[in-house]
């Protein structure tokens, strides 16, 4: 039992959990047969069993059963279920398309009366949901802590759960990026999706094969970069925003040494063995070049045809999409995509090298 708990604690550490989720998701796109009913039953049974027997562990129970964390259990199970349900239907439709049949949605094209066929479904949904909400409300009182006291800040202080993805981002990026620029980009990016995505297929039915790239990017962003961060932010981030495994006690006094270094330290101090230059622009020149390369040069390189890139860089070519989408859509899409990927990139740089800032101008609060 202890061994199992330690293993879970280890596997839910940010590095391992994030990597496992990413790899798992990517594998599930390659081996789509795992989106079957059988796998779903087994996965659900095992996961639910482990999750609910874990309630016997006092540390686990303390966090999961906290009233305002109860919705996160719903998030966990509902998002998992509906992801499976969407992918399952997509994979089933892909089989039909491969066999030359119509997709399921196309087979049921006949028009039916909205009264009663739809109105009754809606009524039933309303009744079930209304009863469910009542039961939930009677069984579980809404949380109310001590009266507000501006002099006593709790540790950890957490934003409402749906913003914990952003709060988790604060570990890796400064507030102007994590709290302002990235949320703006998320909203703008979501709104831009229909104008960037020119693939006419997969409109109005579940499919995976006909929209692989779109679905892969969206699921990665939604499941790994949003929902996973919300869940780990709720259950696994304790005092001082330190990480705690699900069976670990939230020790207020645990101190984790942070040795954060900047790109400028790597270059000047560790690389050249000399002190940091006093001119900030000179000090940060390498970081500035790296960032400009990432947002300015990389998209242009990726637009080039494979053969025109040096051999070791051929894999980054997105020339196919550049041809299909045209320059405006391509550049908007790629820059949003790179902005999204900048989060995991920074995460891994932090975990691997303790890197804090690529560009650091603390004088004017401009740190990347």
């Amino acid at each position: 039992m202890e061994f199992f708990k330690n293993a879970v604690n280890w596997a839910s550490g940010p590095t391992v959990l994030f990597t496992l989720s990413t790899v798992g998701l990517l594998l599930s796109f390659k081996y789509t047969q795992i989106w079957s009913k059988k796998v779903a039953y087994i996965f659900f049974a095992v996961f639910a069993l482990v999750y609910f027997t874990s309630m016997l562990d006092p540390n686990f129970y303390l966090i999961v059963a906290k009233p305002d964390n109860v919705p996160i259990t719903f998030v966990l199970f509902l998002v998992a279920f509906f992801t499976w349900y969407a992918m399952y239907q997509g994979v089933e439709n892909d089989k039909r398309i491969e066999a030359g049949e119509d997709v399921l949605e196309k087979q049921e094209q006949e028009k039916v009366w909205v009264w009663p066929d739809l109105v009754y479904t809606e009524l039933l949904c309303m009744v079930i949901l209304g009863v469910g909400l009542m039961v939930w409300s009677i069984l579980l009182p809404a949380p109310l802590e001590q009266p507000a006291n501006p002099a006593d800040s709790p540790n950890p202080s957490k934003a409402p759960w749906y913003f914990l993805g952003l709060q988790e981002m604060l570990v890796y990026y400064d507030p102007w990026l994590a709290g302002v620029v990235f949320p703006t980009l998320i909203i703008v990016g979501l709104m831009a999706i229909p104008y960037i995505d020119t693939n006419p297929k997969g409109n109005g039915y579940f499919t995976f094969k006909e929209r692989k790239a779109e679905i892969a990017i969206f699921l990665y962003g939604f499941l790994v970069l949003w929902v996973l961060l919300v869940i780990s932010g709720t259950f696994l981030r304790g005092p001082n925003w330190n990480f705690f495994g699900p069976y670990e006690y939230w020790d207020q006094h645990r101190i984790e040494p942070l040795l954060n270094v900047h790109v400028s330290d790597f270059f000047w101090v560790r690389g050249l063995g000399r002190p940091l230059p006093s001119n900030p622009i000179v000090r940060e020149f390498l970081g500035i070049i790296l960032v400009l390369f990432y947002v300015g040069v990389l998209p242009v390189l990726m637009a080039r045809p494979r053969e025109k890139l040096p051999k070791f860089l051929q894999w980054i070519s997105l020339n196919k999409y550049f041809q299909k989408m045209g320059p405006a859509r391509y550049y908007l899409g790629v820059i949003l995509f790179l902005a999204m990927l900048s989060l995991p990139i920074k995460m891994y740089l932090r975990w691997a090298f303790n890197l804090k800032y690529v560009v650091a101008f603390p004088e004017i609060f401009f740190n990347i």
């Binding site: 709290g179 979501l190 609060f365």
Partner: protein, 265 residues
């Protein structure tokens, strides 16, 4: 038994044939196609729907009813929120004790529970609705614009939940809002600790300071306090719900105008 039954059915017939009933429901029993049309057309709530719909589009396995559930939750929240407004005063002095009273002294004291759990549920169902719309490619032409409206509705839902989070005025509330609103301090140009803000100077005077930056605009003060509570209350009860209601009207109308629930061409 038979007598009872015939009495009931007699009473039912008398009711549905009365002038009152007929003045409310203009159509007869919904047994003919003509009346299936009329029931949808003569009811202001039902007429949001089309009269007929593609079979595949109205299946639960396709829509998951998530959009409908979200709207239903919005109605539940409006109703319970209205009841809560009878008892709750948005001042530092009363807010917390009013919340206590709501649970302890108000009959049927689950209104706050319904409101809070319903609000959490609404955030989840909005996400799942968007997720479904994405996975069925329903944002593709001709529905691009309505997807954009949906994104704004998502933001409004989160803001509604965020502003409501402060109102109980407990430790959970003020510190969550403090953490959330601290980020506004870092807005480029508009926050005191934002990049480039220091460049906005007139001589020696900083144009943006903690008394006029983006965070101050959000909180109405330098820290979460009385003004913030009032500001969030007004936004939560009036401003944001009105904006959401207007956009929902556009959203539903466009669902119809863009060809109803999406389906394969």
């Amino acid at each position: 038994m038979e007598k009872v039954w015939s009495a009931i059915s007699g009473a039912w017939d008398a009711t549905t044939e009365s002038q009152v009933w007929k003045s409310v429901f203009r159509h007869g029993a919904v047994t003919s196609n003509r009346n299936r049309v009329l029931v949808m057309m003569s009811n202001v709530f039902l007429h949001l729907h089309p009269v007929k719909s593609r079979k595949a589009g109205i299946k639960l396995r396709y829509t998951w009813c998530m959009g409908g559930i979200t709207f239903f939750l919005f109605l539940v929240l409006t109703f319970t929120g209205l009841l809560l407004m009878f008892y709750y005063r948005p001042t530092v002095q009363y807010a917390y004790s009013d919340i206590i009273d709501l649970g302890e002294h108000v009959p049927l004291g689950v209104m706050r529970e319904l409101h809070r759990w319903g609000a959490h549920a609404m955030v989840i169902t909005v996400w799942l609705h968007m997720f479904r719309v994405f996975m069925t490619g329903s944002y593709k032409p001709p529905r691009e614009f309505n997807w954009g409206i949906g994104v704004i509705l998502l933001v409004l839902t989160l803001l509604l939940s965020f502003t409501g989070y402060l109102l109980p005025w407990d430790q959970l509330a003020i510190w969550a809002i403090t953490v959330g609103s601290n980020m506004a301090r870092a807005t480029p140009l508009l926050g005191t600790e934002g990049p480039l803000t220091a460049a906005l100077k007139l001589g020696e005077i900083n144009l943006v300071n903690s008394g006029n930056d983006a965070r101050f605009a959000l909180l109405g003060a330098r820290s979460v306090g009385e003004n913030t509570l009032l500001r969030f209350y007004v936004l939560h009860c009036v401003g944001l719900p009105l904006a959401a209601a207007v956009l929902m009207a556009v959203h539903f109308w466009r669902v119809r105008k863009d060809g109803g629930i999406s389906g394969p061409m």
